[in-house]
Subunit: 395 residues, 2 copies
């Protein structure tokens, strides 16, 4: 048997994906996934747009494209997504991506040598940990409070570890739903300049805001080109299309482009053209209005349900957007046992929070992530009532 | 400035892509690219299929999919592409790809440690060299004759270098148009078993056959699971969709799937569904018949033009399919000077062959790659006449 590369020995597939497969039973009310609601997809609009772009530009769309991205999308992404958020950038700053998860891979490929330190929020997105570890980086966790990572602890860890990268999901973070405070955003950009590391700002949820004030991305405070901003069409249009984009300094974009050349040559022109046309037709604001109204009701059903059916000792976040609520139990509950009883007896599912930590065996053992985007308010209420009953029986 | 990873220091972007940009002048008759003819794209069919798949299965197509691939495509790829070529495989052997170039990246990621040796045909596909080098592998060239790599030399180099991987494009190779002989295909599979290395069999051109007998893939001779077969929809349907697939042992597929999870999560469901439906409707055979008839005329125009306008001392391949003819001049011609005069004076372009070698400064300095798929027979004749005149003036 031919030996695999050393880098693969530290990497396992996503445990969460495996857990989700066990929840495929349609009877189960699942708070486990992280998918947008299927009702949130503008299927007919995408159908109409696919027809139009192929009709008008089919020969170019079906031919090889440039690695940097479908040129109309690079400009509409700036005009409709980046510039309105206050991000100053030109087309030379943009690279189109096969989903923003490709941005995690390419940034890792371009910056990370084995042993390099990546600072991460604790807990954080498992796919990011997997990407960094595939390039044999060492992921060092940063504690979070209600406003995200603490800047003093961050600076201490920077001095201690001399990191290559800081990975942060600033808005409605996965898995916690927390949003990084405004002052902290500015401070992070300043620390990146001062200590010269890369901030990988992954912001796929920012447009799913149901209440509270819009926050500018960390990238808007970046004076030295140390921040790479990742955006995605997965949560605002469709994840199945696999389209994202990033903004970075031209020199970094060139290096990432070289890395992308040998990764997938370029992102599908058809899916880029669909995302582009969706923006240019001005359909996004109305679409977000509808989707966010739907998700608001689901979030509210979840917060109501938790307060009604869960013990008062369950400490949870109060997200202003996104897809997730995060909670902690006091003491050391047996979460795997709870998950087993929940899925088998109560037919309701969630993800034990430990899987979002850098050490899944010792950290976050009393936490859980609850997704509210995939179920109707009615089913959320029923599911939380069932789960609350189980919990009150003792875990 | 934050330092890039060590792996990026040995990698530059494709020189060929840079040369191609210089040829963008529409007046130029270009033998430089490697694109399918724009006339070869079934635009209306793709439009119709996109409509149908979104209409019938839109909610699933726009949602997250599985990393392994869109399930209907995994089975139709086997039924319509792999099994007819004699490849024995089940769905557990299949991984869908964002273009077959992703197969080069994922295989490298999963198998290559820095310093590992990859044996490659000399000359070979530049994108593959770039992928292997990004993972800091050492690419060792294998001489080719008219039937591809020599098996005795291969075995010598295997003993000398203990390679992790052999990369081979067996059919209508890029850049030479050569096809690996039947006995050699079997011998390669046997050597891979004997010396336990991976054969990465990249076969995107095999269905573009204009004459001669169909050859079974190396994978059909693989008894030990050492061969990974890469296929692509780029040359038979559309490169802009970015859909490919590979066949390998289940354990290898699992490792590649883990690597793909953190590369792009999954390939676009929409483009996979389009490729799937194109196969299931049985449209491929008739489409290939038409496309291959068109390409046959272009290849014939090129072979005729070379024999009419080029000096007899120009030794070239006689491909039975694919997109390229490859030629060598005697002595040490100044190919960069010829390219400059060709594009500026004669308005005709080609790619100097040196760029397809492991050492571009010393190897293949007297060679050129001529692409015949992108121009009509008339323009091929005109272009070769112009180029022949320049050559006869001395290079």
């Amino acid at each position: 048997m031919v030996k695999y590369a050393t880098r693969m020995s530290g990497v396992s597939g996503s445990i969460i994906r495996e857990i989700l497969k066990l929840m495929a039973d349609p009877e189960i009310i699942s708070f486990g996934g992280g998918n947008p609601a299927k009702e949130a997809f503008p299927i007919e609009t995408v159908e109409q747009i696919a027809h139009e772009v192929l009709d008008q530009n089919g020969a170019n769309i079906l031919q090889y494209g440039t690695t940097e991205g479908y040129p109309p999308l690079r400009s509409s992404y700036l005009e409709y997504l980046a510039h309105p958020k206050g991000v100053q950038a030109k087309e030379e700053n943009v690279l189109a991506l096969t989903g923003s998860s490709q941005g995690l891979d390419l940034t890792s490929k371009v910056f990370l040598d084995p042993g390099d330190v990546v600072l991460v929020e604790s807990p954080t997105f498992v796919g990011a940990l997997q990407a960094f570890r595939t390039y044999q980086a060492q992921c060092v966790p940063l504690e979070m409070d209600d406003e995200g990572i603490d800047i003093n602890e961050l600076e201490e860890k920077i001095r201690l570890h001399n990191p290559k990268l800081l990975y942060v999901i600033p808005t409605f973070q996965n898995p916690t739903g927390k949003t990084l405070g405004l002052k902290r955003r500015r401070a992070i950009a300043e620390l990146a300049s001062k200590y010269d590391f890369i901030v990988l700002e992954d912001d796929p949820y920012c447009d799913l805001r149901y209440r509270g004030d819009v926050m500018p991305p960390i990238k808007t405070f970046d004076k030295t080109g140390n921040v790479i901003l990742l955006n995605s069409f997965s949560k605002i249009l469709s994840p199945g299309l696999r389209v994202g984009a990033l903004i970075a300094e031209p020199d970094i974009v060139r290096k990432l482009t070289v890395a992308k050349q040998s990764s997938d040559t370029h992102t599908s022109n058809l899916t880029q053209a669909i995302a582009d046309s969706f923006l240019r037709k001005g359909l996004l604001p109305e679409h977000l209005k509808q989707v966010n109204a739907m998700y608001t009701m689901r979030l509210d059903a979840m917060l109501d349900g938790i307060s009604k059916f869960f013990p008062k000792s369950f400490h949870h976040t109060l997200p202003e957007g996104g897809l997730f609520v995060w909670g902690e139990f006091p003491g050391t509950p047996d979460m795997p046992a709870l998950l087993k009883r929940a899925t088998q007896e109560a037919k309701v599912a969630f993800i034990p929070g430990q899987y979002f930590y850098t050490d899944v065996t010792t950290m976050g053992l009393n936490t859980m992530r609850l997704n509210f985007s995939s179920s109707t308010p009615e089913r959320i209420t029923i599911g939380l009532e069932r789960l609350g009953k189980l919990i009150s029986q003792g875990i």
